[in-house]
């Protein structure tokens, strides 16, 4: 109970101190510094009103500057210096060292997979859920149940999914759902269809989509120019397509040990996907809520007109509704991308980056607090920042446009 009292006292002091600042500083301004009475009342009021915005905004600016803006600069500086040499400037040596580590490239590769699969899957599931639940009576209940994982911490979700992926020795009862299902497969035609053909086809779809996108961007170069950025995009997309192809080949030819419980989280390749499932499970609700609001915002006339013109439900969905909410889809996609870039807890709690599941955020934490290598840690933080910055610029650009 002592902890509780101490906690209440600390809470009281912290919150009270914060409130007191605003009250006292405004009182000081109005009563002591520029009192709104006497011969100079009018002038005083004007002066007080010039200062007041800064009183209001100062704590926020201090906190933002100190806790977000300064660290960006400081981290950049740390990534260029060596702590062991008393903070001497060493140029890009930290980055070079990082590039030479296979663990870093593993983290990069995994992060790229996360960046593609999690936003895509969450948005797709969210769109599906939004569209389906909008059409039924108990839709709001269904929505809040799908939305629920949003409230669960990444750590809680990690425990939940560790139970699902749990493995027991062969002679014991399997308490993890995945292994219990796995043991139902015995290598017959059903197993071939579900475990080889289906994943291989899914991966081929992914490859086809990314190669098609790469082709689209490539032909845009010839028509519209912008060669530099677009060729980077083409290379990036081609790389994704190649990864999908190799995954498809792997899925099709993989040798499965039927009847033997698997240690899912230790199988390289699979385990990353199993970790992504956790984040998809959490983020789908978010995507669903936003997209459902967007779907409701679609003017009914457009839908009605298309039905009158004889469109079937699928055509209404894909040709009428999706194009009208494409802006929202982009917003959802980027928001989830930001979450993915910072994903740390899930990997930390479930595998801690072992068995080739490393991601950048966890790699950074590892470097900072376990290897105590601040230089490389900062360098990897800067890589995360670099990946985020296109979204940052785009956001600021949009906000400025909106304000005008």
């Amino acid at each position: 109970m002592e902890a509780a009292y101490k906690g209440i006292l600390t809470i009281f002091l912290g919150v009270g101190g914060c409130l007191l600042y605003y009250y006292l500083s405004n009182q000081f301004l109005d009563k002591v510094l520029y009192p709104a009475k006497g011969e100079k009342a009018g002038q005083n009021i004007n002066r007080a009103n010039m200062i007041r915005p800064w009183l209001f905004i100062l704590p926020a600016m201090l906190a933002l500057g100190l806790y977000l803006a300064y660290p960006v600069v400081a981290t950049l500086w740390y990534s260029l210096t060596d702590r062991n040499q008393g903070g001497a400037f060493i140029g890009l040596a930290n980055y070079q060292q990082m590039m030479n580590e296979p663990k870093f490239w593993e983290a990069m590769r995994n992060n790229m997979l996360w960046l593609i699969i999690v936003p895509a899957a969450s948005t797709a599931f969210g769109l599906l859920a939004a569209q389906l639940t909008d059409r039924i009576k108990w839709g709001s209940v269904a929505k809040s149940l799908i939305f629920m994982p949003m409230a669960i911490s990444f750590v809680g979700a990690a425990v939940i999914f560790k139970l699902i992926y749990d493995t027991r020795p062969v002679d014991q009862a399997q308490i993890g759902v995945l292994n219990a299902v796995w043991l139902q497969f015995e290598g017959g035609i059903g197993s071939w269809l579900i475990l080889r053909l289906l994943p291989a086809l899914l991966m081929l779809c992914g490859a086809a989509i990314s190669i098609y996108a790469a082709y689209g961007v490539f032909s845009a170069i010839r028509e519209k120019g912008g060669a530099v950025l677009r060729s980077i995009a083409v290379i990036f997309l081609a790389f994704i397509g190649y990864s999908f192809l190799s995954l498809a080949a792997g899925a099709f030819t993989a040798v499965h040990e039927y009847g033997v419980p698997q240690n899912w989280l230790t199988i390289p390749g699979w385990n990353s996907f199993l970790l992504m499932v956790v984040l998809i499970w959490i983020q789908t609700g978010f995507a669903m809520v936003i997209l459902s609001a967007a779907l409701r915002g679609i003017p009914e006339e457009t839908v009605e007109a298309s039905i009158v013109d004889g469109a079937n439900p699928f055509q209404v969905f894909f040709k009428i509704k999706i194009p009208q909410i494409s802006g929202t889809i982009v917003v959802v996609w980027t928001t989830i991308t930001l979450v993915v870039l910072k994903v740390f807890d899930v990997v930390f709690a479930m595998t801690n980056g072992q068995w080739e599941t490393q991601v950048l955020a966890n790699y950074m934490f590892d470097k900072l607090f376990r290897a105590n290598d601040w230089g490389v840690g900062s360098a990897s933080a800067m890589v995360i920042m670099l990946l985020v910055s296109p979204i940052l610029i785009w956001n600021v650009y949009n906000a400025r446009k909106e304000m005008k």
């Binding site: 007041r52 905004i57 400081a74 740390f344 709690a349």
Partner: protein, 384 residues
């Protein structure tokens, strides 16, 4: 709208069933954790939680009372008799088949009698009652009996008892629970206060540099907090805050502010201009306008952000690990304790599941009670 032309959509049932499937799929993982937290360690390791609602069947090796124990055997007529129950504790298990040798554990049905060497016979009933008789005095250890018993579904609160109220420092979550609260409440209120004032200034007060500040807030919205870890930890250690509550509050405040200012400013800008200008004409200062008019009107936006920040700080692991938890571990929060439990008690699902559920119960409660505001905040925060 779907039956606009007067015909009913044939997809109705398909939609219903797909939604049910989707909801079940999404609930399934959490339900697994919840069910597991009400089962004993034995139950968890013997069967998957999806079987928890059905009786479980298990093979057990039990032993009759040792004849050498004082008063164990009684002489009835010319027979030495030992009577009792095979189960040591009260259970509702029922025995279906049993045997006296490990090679034939299903030799007899419940209620049947087995004959052994030297004229000894033993009868085992369904509920575990046995009667073991012998013409000569029995000696040595009690007779082993191999039974196949069916235990009905059973749930227990003992895990919660252990996790919430025991003094065991590794399992008890009570301390971590209070620590989490101590982190969460100020880390939710302080940014709201600071952001509300700043948002008002950015929305309704005129001063040079306002537009740049707004753009800055939007930009900072996406800065990954990973960048802030080392510089801020160094700063905290340098100016003497060290690792502790103050540091973690400040950190959460800093990281939560951009979203708070953004959400609140967008909301406040939409408030009717007339009210504010009338108040100004009547001689109210900005401080009075803010506290008496703007704050009450902005309640929905304040509530949305409060829920966000509450969920985020309650569920946070990284910030607490870096800025709060020192070597003594006295200020550990629940998320961190669960991660540690995953390491030390990886196989003890009854403890893990219960601890995890204790930590997610509060956010779930908040979620279901305040969902309206959460959704509103999400929409304001991202669709704009």
């Amino acid at each position: 709208m779907d039956n606009i032309a007067g015909k009913k959509s044939g997809l109705g049932w398909v939609v219903q069933i797909s939604v049910i499937a989707l909801v079940l799929l999404w609930l399934f993982p959490t339900v697994g954790l919840l069910v597991s937290s009400f089962r004993t360690a034995d139950q968890i390791s013997e069967s998957g939680w999806w079987r928890a609602l059905f009786p479980t069947q298990q093979n057990m090796t039990l032993r009759a009372a040792d004849p050498d124990d004082e008063g164990a055997q009684a002489l009835v007529g010319d027979l030495y008799v030992i009577e009792g129950n095979l189960f040591e504790e009260d259970t509702e298990a029922t025995i279906s088949v049993w045997g006296t040798s490990s090679r034939a554990i299903d030799a007899y049905k419940a209620g049947e009698t087995a004959e052994m060497n030297d004229g000894e016979i033993i009868t085992v009933q369904e509920n575990g009652d046995y009667r073991w008789t012998s013409p000569e005095e029995l000696s040595g250890r009690g007779q082993r009996v191999f039974v196949t018993a069916t235990t009905p579904a059973e749930f227990t609160l003992s895990n919660y008892q252990r996790v919430l109220f025991s003094d065991d420092s590794t399992d008890s979550m009570a301390n971590a629970f209070f620590n989490t609260l101590t982190v969460t409440i100020p880390a939710t209120i302080i940014p709201i206060v600071i952001a509300a004032f700043a948002a008002y200034a950015l929305a309704w007060m005129d001063f040079p540099g306002r537009a740049i500040l707004i753009a800055m807030v939007v930009g900072l919205l996406v800065v990954p907090l990973q960048l802030a870890l080392i510089p801020l930890l160094r700063l905290h250690l340098g100016i003497g805050i060290g690792k502790g509550y103050l540091g973690v509050w400040l950190a959460h405040t800093g990281f939560g502010l951009p979203l708070a200012i953004y959400l609140l400013r967008n909301y406040m800008v939409g408030l009717p201009k007339d009210i504010i200008e009338n108040a100004r004409v009547d001689g109210a200062t900005d401080f009075q306008i803010f506290t008496k008019i703007i704050l009450p009107l902005s309640f929905p936006a304040l509530a949305s952000f409060a829920i966000f920040q509450f969920l985020w700080t309650w569920n946070d692991l990284l910030v607490a690990k870096v800025f709060l938890i020192d070597a003594t571990g006295e200020t550990t929060v629940m998320t961190n304790q669960i991660v540690e439990l995953l390491g030390t008690r990886g196989g003890n699902w009854e403890i893990l599941a219960t601890a995890a559920f204790v930590s997610i119960a509060v956010p779930l409660l908040v979620f279901f009670m305040m969902q309206k505001y959460l959704v509103r905040g999400l929409l304001a925060g991202s669709v704009k």
